[in-house]
Amino acid sequence: MGQDAFTQLVDAYYAPLYRFALSLARNPADACDLTQQTFYVWATKGGALRDVTKVKTWLFTTLYREFLRGRRRGARMTAIEDLPPGADDVAAAEADVALNMDAQQVVEALQDVDDVFRAPLTLFYLEDLPYQEIADMLEVPIGTVMSRLSRGKAQLRAALARQAAEGASKVIPFPNSQRKTS
């Protein structure tokens, strides 16, 4: 791949990859590292990919694998059987809650979602990959992707609600002034 083609590839995918990385890694520095590492892997091994239509999936999959490789797997993973059930309904105000937050707050809420749900949830919102490719990437059946998505959404709503509540409670109390009387 020539330099121009590589630049075009970076321009097309580095932003969504960074967003995905940010949701996984929980901080911008690690997200940058993950994104860079993904393109490094592409630069060294991407030539072996024969189907050019799979470039996007290849990049997201590589980023996710790099993320998994770079951490102690299992330490922060939530076992599926220990998960709480998903919320049944959505409060009507939740869309407004999300809309009234800035992007950083939404990302922080997303980062509160358990790892196992966060990857499919972020990919769902990035709208970049079809379900089958998300399933292939996570190496789980489509039904499992949808199940994790359901539970991830429930955790995201809860996290957004917490943030909204914390924001509302962040009222700086008026300091008690003790007037000195003479």
């Binding site: 970076v10 860079q36 592409w42 060294t44 990035l126 709208e127 998505l149």
Partner: protein, 241 residues
Amino acid sequence: MNTTEVKFILQARRPDGSDDAEPRFAEALAQAQRDPELAEWLAREQAFDAAVAEKLRGVQPPADLRAAILAGARMSRPVAFWRKPQVLALAACVAVLLAVVALWPVARRPVAGSTDQLALGVMSEVGSEAHRHGMPQANGELRTLLTKAGTRLAAGVPMEMEQLKADGCRSLKIGGRDVLEVCFQRGGTFHLYVARRKDFEGDAEPMFRERGELASVAWTDAKHAYVLVTQDGVQALRGVF
């Protein structure tokens, strides 16, 4: 499909509608449109998803990330194997070696033929139309030598190649090597071919052979290889040999 199943499917419906063509989503959507309560739930769900997706898309990478990716990849991109210094050096060595071999004088010199090859070559030449229409005749010292009744060619022709050419021999190539040709009459018609000894290896012992109407004898001395050919038979050859 009950309400819980419809919700399970539709909560996975992406806000941009890219999943709507899939049968399971299409069926769940159709059911939601028939059920006002489900339709209301779906509207809230889609509004929530659209809001989160919009916020997520609003996250901008750090300003220097793109430049860092391009610079880092440029630095770490593997060099094509044929551009690696070691490979280039090896290729240069091979090229030099090939050049040396190609230019080596010994290697360029053709391997010496045999007097058998010379004999077969000249017999073909004698049988050709070109030869019959232009038989070179000897003159000078060579003519004297060849036509003298007592001369026995088995002792060879004590003349250098250049002198033979000067005395009427025609030059031709047999097997890529220089061969001189001269014809003379002495109780028959004879065709003598002379080549450098180093170009045609063979025994000093004469080798007589017959092919069709032609008879020949091949032999060598210290400097030259010879073939004498005639259409007058082996006995005629022996008369001058």
